[in-house]
Each structure stands twice: as C-alpha cells, then as structure tokens.
C-alpha cells in the first residue's frame, strides 16, 4: 500500500511499537501522566492485529493474583468512564458474568477464587443452577452444581475501547502514527537510543514493544528474547434467534470449552480447546492485517459439539460465522512484561494469552508509571520478561508448548499440575539415577525437577489430579519426615549459580547486597538485593570462596533477573566479572540430623561443628572428586549443599548413596522441600515476597547490615523505613488447627472476623501436623504479642472457616537449634 504523507518526528521520549489495546493503553496513560513527546507507531491501522477480533469480555472474576484483580477492576471502571472523557463510546455493557461449575473440582476451584476475589473487592455471588437458568434461560443446567455471578461485569467492544484510549492519548498530546513499521532499534552503550522505521529514524530514549504476535520477531531483530507464539483462536456466531431473551449475562463453562454471549441477535460461542494449534511458527507475515485464518472444522468439530451442549439451542441454529483469528500465548500463560534484560530502556508488554482487553488498561497504567519513574510499584514477579529463557524461543519449543498453553486457560487449575509438553529440555547429571529411584518430575524453569519419589511398588504417576489428598501424598510425607528425623538427598542442580571474580568482586557484591558478604573468607551469607527504594529485587546466598572469588546462588526462577541486576550494578570501570556457572555445577543437598555422619563417611575433611560450623564453605574431597561444600539449609536442619563439577556429579552421587545405606538415606523432592521450609517460614521470592516488599516487613531485617562499612543500594531507604517505627505489615505464618484441610494460595485469614491477609504460599507441614501458609499480615492496628495472641484467628478455605494460629516467629525450631548443632 502506498503511504500517505507521514510526518515522522525526529525525536521522542518514548516510542511505542504497536497500536492494539496494549499500545494504546500505554499511550493513554503516559499522556495522562504528563509524559511529553510520546509517539505510537502502528504498522498498518490501529487494532489490525489481534485486538480487532477479540471477544471483548470484561470480567473481573477468575484470578488468584491480587495484582491482576486490582487491574481488572480498574479496567472495568475505565471502560465505563472513557466515553465521558473522550466522547467515544467503548461499547461497555455490564450485562453480568457467570462462571459455571459442572463438577466438584471446578466448584472447589471457583469457591476458592470467589473468596479471594471478594477479598479484593469484587462482588461475586455463588448462585444455584436454577438462578443460572433464570439469568441465562438458554443454558442447560441439569449437570451444573453452582454459578459464580458478578453483576457488574460484562463486555466491551475491543475496537471502540482501543479507539477511545487512542483518542484520550491524542488529547494529551501523544502522536499516534499509522502506516509506519519499526524495523529495529538503535543502540548505544547498552541502552536504547532510537527506533528505525520504514519512514526514517526517530531518536528516542525508551522503546516499548507492544506488537502482540509480532513482538517475538521484532525483538529477534535486536537480540531480545520474547518467546510468545500465535495460535488459532475460535469463536462461532449463530444466526439470529427469534425472541432471544434480553440482557443475558455472559456465561462461561470452561469444562465445556466455551463462553457464551449474545451477539447481534444471535449467540456467540468462544472456544478454548484443550489441544490447540500454533500458527505461523516461523513468523507472522508483516502485512497480515485484519486477517483471519481458514477455520479447521475437522479439528474443532468435537470441541464445538461439547461447547454447544451447554446451550442446546445452538445445535439447531445456523452458523453465521465460524471465526478463527490468531492470538499469542506464552509458555506459562503469564504475559511477557518488563524491561528486557538484553537492553536498557527496551520495554515489552506482549503475549497476553487472550486477556489483553481485560488487562490492557491496568498494564498500561503500570507501564507508564514504570517508564516515567523507573519503578513499576506493582508486583511484577509473576510476569517479568526475565523469567523466560532463550531456548523457549526455539521453534520446536514454541510448537510443542503452545499446543497446551491455550487449553490450560480452561483447564481446572489443580495445585500440583505441571505442564506436560516440551519437557526434557534440561536434565541434571543425575537425572537417570533419580528416575531409577522413582522420581516424579515436574517442569522447573525447563529442568526436570524431582517433585516426589514413589515408594517401592507404587506408580510414578499422577492418575488424576484433585483438590484434596492425592495418592502420592504418602511419599511426600515420608520424605518430609526423613528430612526431620534422618537424612535426605535432594538434587538442586536447577539452582542458578554465578561466579563473581576480580579485584573488585567483593566490593561490588558488598555494595549490591544489604548484608555483609565481604568480610569473612569461606563463609556463606544469605542476603537480599534491594533497589534504591529499599524494596526486594532478589534474595540469595553469596559465598566468599577466595579474596577475589565469590559464588552467588539464587533460585531458578530468578536466574536472569539476578544476573541482569548484578551486571547492571557493576560500575563500568570495576574489575569484577560475572560467569554463569549453572551448567558447570550440579548441586546436591544432604540435609537432616544424620547428614553430618553421612558426610563424614565420605570425606576426610573434619565435618565437626567446631571446624565446619554453620555457614562455613570450603572445597572438600569426595572419592575422586572435588566439591564445594557449604553448610546451609533451606529446610531448617543440620545440612550441607554440595556444588560438584557436572562431570563428577554421578561419581559423588554414587558415593553418597552407597554411604547413605547405613543411614537409610531417602531421596526427597521439591514437595518435601516446600513443606519443610514452610515449617520454618523460610521465604521464597516471587511467591511469598516480591518487588513491592521491603526486608523489614518480610522478616529479613536481620540481613540488612546498616552498620557495615560499605554503602549499599537501598541503604538510605532502609534507614528511613526503620525510622518510621513499628511495622504496619508483616509476613507471618498461619497454621490450620484442623489437620484435614490443605492450603495452596489465596486463602483468606481473618482475626475476629476481619480480613487480615491471604496466603501467598502454602503447604502441608507434616511435623507441625497441619497446613501452613505464609501471608502478609496487614491489620489496621499495631502488630505486637497482644495482637497476635489476643484475637480469634480463622482461615477461609473454599468458603469454609477453620480455626487457625498465627505466628511472626517460625513455628518450628524458632531458636534455630537444629541448624546450628
């Protein structure tokens, strides 16, 4: 298409690539926040990618993320008031929304979700099948157990909504230009310096890639990893229905793969089929605009039939349109958002997994704030771009994983489920041995991680997921107990490990870490890394191996985040170099009361408490191998972490297992790790704490050494925080007094009937004899002993209340006697 006369500015503060709901929302919010010289470049016409064919559901129900719930409420409100502000209607129609539960497992899930959503301010009511029928007369309800109804939810017209946001953006001076495609980014000194386009260059400080299904290939041009993948997405529109009931709400029944709403006098059925089809794995054509895909009736037939059975009249109606359009999905169903690790000021907001319309407004607000202040001020750990690895961009990975991603939107989200496709990408050196031991593996950042081990004679499989106790729980319990009473072996090779070396290594690490990590040789220190606002970026251990050699170990999910943070904060002229040693070292943990005895059997190094105290680390000999042995624990017992050169791991493992026979050494998996650490209240960044928390609220004040000689990032903020006096919110443990129920996430804790917080992560703690969770206690009053012990604590699990006990101090071995023995 020939271009019209386009006036491209030479300079801009921010260039947004992509004019769909995301790009226009970011433009709108940047404009409203007073950002000047913002340019949005749209390759063809606004909404011409995925936005134009989105179904337009505006639903606040369904998320177990506090961040997402708030954003959904914000979106609903914004779509409602945009017309008054801009003069353009968004087509927002609050017809209501019903989530239907057709079996017990769904009911359990939605009750949990409903409880949490209410906590977040969403007005959701559980209704009976008859009430569903009253609201949506065309539904078949004989097999339904209940519905979850939000009266104020409804739908929005995706094109109108986007145009209204665009108008709002223009009103604030944002320059929206159609017909211009970006062809790459101009880089200088490791940061963005401009954008190249089909119509010339624009010098700019910040770029935001909101190009939807093109985001990946646009990122690839500049070496940015954005592994989203387009897939076929369907909806069907029937012919008109005579006397269609008016004002029917939107009905969703994930067990039947469909959502149902009125459309132009007929019905629309939207589908999320369990096995889906990735589209254009090799890249979406540049000129695909307002495009559709030829629908695959054969593949979709069975799914359609199932979906139609929920609203039987659709079986008798003619099909006006069976629409198929591409939407992009990610490997883990979380969006891809944040500043790219590869390039400063290159931001990404893409891969919205079909919730772009719902999340667009809130994400736009967050991104605008992030760009303008450098701080997102929202928990980003769930969708940060740096959680994704480059191998996930591989053609085969995307091809195989996407097949499952789309369907997962509608699967019952059992707590212990792991993705089944694209498995086996990374295996530790002792994988085969673990398999022989009966390990059940799950996907741990691409590694095959042993979750639990099947006792001899039982199946290494999960036949059927449930919300209650699965068969394999007995294995988990045995491992947990072995960890407390005996000795266990855990493969932790998936942990991220970095060597930091050089003359300035210690100085640099001491500046980046809040704790004192540089004063003692052969010592491991647990420390948070804070940003200048005093909030947590990561938590990890730093071991000073030599004067100029340090080992940093951080959890797998924070791999690229920690690495990027580390590299970013090393001054250019420092003699400090970071090497990723994750593949170089296998990691095997030996933990439990008998661990010392076991270790002493295989090494000549004196492992007694005097010579090898808690937090000591040194290289030891085991058989023919040399291994780094650090005395640390994440389960709250006497224990050791071995870092073994990968090629020697099998050898060491063999020695450990042989020596372990005498002590009835058990293999233990991640479930046991989770329950053991939960008893001690050990934190897990990204699950119990995030970038909006500070170390004091999360109980890590002891790791912040305000009096150490060197300055550190966040010191001033910490000083100011401490000066503010008693903490108003604190991370605490909650124990369910009844041994029956299980805790996972989002269960609400109350004190004398008042909401106090919700479980961030939960587990079943066999030693304590009940489910335990970590939650951020946020009362309106002072948190002291009187408060903790003076009230009636309860916890709401799927709508039922249970008596509970709350503690700031660890519920198990709060004096740390077992660790230090």
């Amino acid at each position: 298409m020939e271009k019209k006369n386009i006036n491209l500015p030479e300079n801009a503060n921010v260039v947004i690539i992509g004019g769909g709901i995301i790009g226009c929302s970011i433009a709108y919010h940047l404009g409203h926040m007073g950002c000047k010289d913002v340019v949005l470049l749209e390759r063809d016409e606004l909404t011409s990618g995925t936005t134009w064919h989105a179904a337009g559901l505006m639903v606040t129900f369904g998320s177990l993320s506090e961040t997402a719930c708030e954003m959904r409420l914000y979106a609903r409100d914004l779509y409602n008031r945009l017309e008054a502000e801009t003069g353009l209607s968004t087509g927002f129609s609050p017809v209501g929304f019903i989530e239907a539960a057709s079996n017990r497992d769904r009911l359990e899930e939605y009750r949990r979700v409903a409880q949490f959503n209410r906590y977040c301010g969403i007005d959701v009511n559980e209704i009976s099948p008859q009430e569903i029928k009253d609201l949506f007369p065309l539904a078949r309800v004989d097999d339904l157990l209940a519905g979850f109804y939000v009266k104020e939810d409804g739908r929005v017209n995706p094109v109108d909504g986007t145009m209204a946001l665009a108008r709002g953006a223009r009103n604030k001076g944002v320059n929206i230009i159609e017909g211009v495609a970006s062809t790459g980014v101009i880089k200088k000194n490791g940061r963005v310096a401009g954008v190249k386009t089909t119509h010339g260059d624009i010098q700019a400080d910040v770029v935001v890639n909101c190009a939807g299904m093109w985001a990946r290939q646009i990122g690839e041009v500049d070496g940015i990893n954005i592994p989203n993948q387009a897939a076929e997405h369907y909806y069907l529109i029937t012919e008109e229905i005579d006397d269609i009931p008016e004002n029917m709400p939107i009905l969703e029944d994930p067990s039947h793969y469909g959502y149902y709403r009125e459309e132009v006098g007929g019905l629309m059925i939207g589908l999320f089929e369990p096995v889906c089809a990735p589209w254009k794995l090799n890249g979406v054509p540049d000129n695909f605009s307002f495009g559709e895909i030829e629908p695959d009736w054969d593949r979709m037939g069975p799914f359609l039939e199932k979906a139609m059975s929920r609203v039987p009249i659709t079986e008798e109606l003619g099909v006006k349109k069976f629409f198929c359009g591409p939407e992009s999905f990610t490997a883990d169903l979380s969006a891809i958002i944040g500043e790219a690790p590869e390039l400063k000021n290159y931001f990404v907001t893409a891969g919205l997994n079909s919730v772009g319309i719902i999340m667009g407004p809130g994400l736009g607000r967050m991104m605008a704030h992030w760009i303008m202040t450098g701080n997102p001020e929202v928990d980003i750990t769930g969708f940060n771009i740096d959680r994704l690895h480059t191998y996930q961009n591989n053609h085969d990975y995307r091809k195989h994983r996407t097949v499952e991603s789309l369907g997962k939107v509608y699967k019952c989200h059992y707590p212990y489920e792991s993705m089944q496709t694209a498995r086996g990408a990374k295996k530790s050196a002792i994988y085969d041995r673990l398999k022989e031991q009966g390990a059940y593996f799950k996907d741990v950042s691409g590694w095959e991680g042993a979750d639990w081990f099947a006792l001899k004679g039982s199946e290494v499989t999960i036949e059927k997921h449930t919300w209650g106790r699965d068969d394999w729980f007995v294995n988990w319990e045995a491992e947990h107990k072995a960890g407390r009473e005996n000795v266990i072996l855990m493969d932790m090779s998936f942990m991220s490990k970095f060597l930091v070396q050089g003359r300035d290594a210690g100085k640099v690490l001491d500046y980046i870490s809040a704790n004192d990590v540089n004063s003692q040789l052969n010592r491991v220190t647990y420390t948070p890394w804070l940003n200048k606002y005093g909030k947590l970026e990561a938590d990890l251990t730093v071991a000073k191996l030599e004067q100029e050699k340090f080992l940093v170990v951080v959890t797998d999910t924070m791999h690229r985040h920690a690495e990027t943070w580390l590299k970013k904060n090393i001054p250019d002229d420092s003699h400090a170099f970071v090497t990723d040693m994750t593949s170089a070292y296998a990691q095997i943990n030996i933990q439990g009361p008998k661990s010392r005895e076991l270790m002493q059997k295989i090494t000549l190094t004196d492992m007694s408490n005097e010579t090898f105290p808690y937090r000591h680390i040194e290289e030891i000999s085991i058989g023919y191998a040399k291994a780094l042995c650090g005395r640390m624990t994440y389960i709250g017992e006497l224990g050791y972490e071995l870092f073994i050169p990968t090629e020697q791991a099998l050898h060491v493992y063999g020695m450990l297992v042989e020596a372990g026979k005498e002590f009835h050494l058990s293999h233990a998996g991640l479930k046991a790790l989770g329950s053991l650490r939960m008893e001690k209240g050990y934190r897990d960044y990204g699950h119990d704490m995030d970038n909006t928390d500070d170390p004091f609220e999360t109980g890590l004040g002891f790791t912040v050494k305000l009096d150490k000689a060197s300055d550190f990032i966040g010191k001033q903020a910490c000083i100011e925080k401490k000066a503010k006096g008693p903490l108003k919110r604190r991370l605490a443990q909650v124990l369910v007094k009844d041994p029956e129920p299980l805790l996972y996430h989002a269960e609400i804790i109350t004190r004398d009937g008042k909401n106090m917080g919700y479980v961030r992560s939960g587990s079943y703690c066999y030693t304590l004899g009940g489910a335990v969770g970590l939650f951020m206690l946020e009362p309106d009053e002072m948190i002291d002993d009187a408060f903790i012990f003076g009230g009636k604590w309860e916890i709401n699990i799927a709508g039922k209340l249970y008596p509970a006990m709350v503690s700031i101090k660890p519920l198990f071995d709060s004096e740390n006697k077992k660790i230090k023995c």
């Binding site: 019209k4 016409e45 353009l88 145009m163 665009a166 108008r167 223009r170 159609e178 307002f290």
Partner: protein, 314 residues
Amino acid sequence: MAQTVNRTGVLIEIENHQVKETSLGVLTAAAGQEIYALVPLDDASGLKEKLAEYGVDHIVSIKGVEDDKISPDLLARILVTAVKEYGLDALLGTAGAAGKDLFARIGAILDEPLLSDCVQVDIPGKKAVKSHFSGKTFATLRVTGILFLCTVRPNAIEAVTAPAEGQLMTFESDAQDPGWMKIVELKKESGGKRDLIEAPIVISGGRALKTARNFEMLDACADKLGGAVGASRAAVDAGYAPHTIQVGQTGKTVSPRLYIACGISGAVQHFAGMKTSKVIVAINEDKDAPIFSKCDYGIVGNIFDVVPALTQKL
C-alpha cells in the same frame, strides 16, 4: 505481435433521444481510431452534431431496435452482424447494467474475450485496466483475439471533444432472434432516481444519518448536484437505506468524478467501493475518522449543518 487496430465501433446509449453523457467518455476512449458510432435508433441524424464533436467518423443508425422490450439476444446478434458488416476491429460500450449484459452476450456468441468495466483503454495495444478484488487492485489485461471487446466504467474516462466528420449511414441486419427468451414486462422505479453506477456525482450517507427520513437531505443535495444518492453498509444494515444503493465491497462500485461521503467513517469495506472516484470529499464530526486520511477534501462538522448549507450554496 499486436494486431493494428483501425476500426472501432462504439455502442451509443440513448436517453430521451439524446446521447447519454456516459457514452461521450467511451468515444474519447476510442480517440485515434476510425470511429463507428452504432446508434440504436432508426434515424440518428439528429445526433450528428454531438457525435461528430466527440470524434465520430461514421454514424450508423441501426434499424429496428427501438423497441424497449427487444430481446437482448436479438440485439446482440444484430450488433454481431454490424461488426462484420463494417469490419470492426474493436467494439466499445458503457458498463452500465444494459451494456454489461449486452457485451457479455456478444462475447459469448463470438467466443471473444471481453474486458468489462474498464477505467483505462488502450485499443492499439489491445489492453485495458480494470478493477479486481472489488476495488482493491487494478489489473492490466491484454487480450488476443480477433475483436477487441470492451466496456468502459461510466465516467471513468473524461469526455474530450475531437471534431470529426460524422458521416451518416444506416444498417439493417438479418439476424434472427433465437426465440427462447422474451421480455414480458418492464418495471420502472418510481421517482426515476439516477442510477448510482452511472451518476457523475454521488453523495452517500452513513449511520450518522440516523433515520431513513434523513436521507431526504441527501436527495435534495443530489438533485442540485445532478447526482445520485448512495449509502454505506452501516446505514443499510440499520435500515436507513435500501441495499440497492449500498456502496462498498458487498454493494456497488462507483467511480464518479465527485464523491461526497457524509457521516461515513471510511472503513476499508466502504472505501473499496468508491476509491477510484476522481475527487472525494468527506464530511464527518470525528476528526480522527479514517476517511480523513483517504479523501481529498474534508470538513469536520455536523452533517445536518453542512449538507443543507452545501445544498443552498450550489
């Protein structure tokens, strides 16, 4: 190797015994050729001045075809014999409803290729340019065949005077009606509105017109302009206008010299139906409406103020 084309016949369309404006453009398309105007009147002498002015060398009065219920098959056969009689190398017509039908019949009878509804014609090169894909593209097509058959989109080629002799002749054919078809009735539309496809000026309304009644405002303007009224799909779907005047990909394609779009946003689908108009004017309240980036002149304003004002000024 292209055959040299010398003799070109142009089928002239008549209304109230006058040469239709649209036929003059077709004559211009044949400029440079030896032009035979085929006139469906027993006596075309009254048209000599006009036809000669626009380049006609020979004016052929075709006898016996003035009956408005004449079978199109018979008319086609008569024209086929005229082609033979005068040794015509090319035959051009107007791509209105009648012309398209007639020429398709001629093409079928002779099994010669037909280029229909063209916007540019190159008789010596045996080529023409016409729309493909409902106005999205232009295709340049070349034909090989003995007779170059072509219909021209009404108003696509601007009529230019080219004085010529206009020698009068008459022709009577011996062609036979195959007799298998008969026109039994002609129903004229009441009101005699101008045909959308043939009108030199079109003024269209969109959903912003809000009622069928409001289209009368456009009728008044069209009358002053000497044009026809069209509608966008949104207006038709909403019931404000009949689908017979829908302009757009699923409606009619027009190419007037002036197209005025009132209250039409300019979505791709509508635009394809009129994008080859010579001049496009848009009147819309929304300054960000897509149509403003696709037209020649725009007025940001309320159509209910602007259109009557325009009607008054004309």
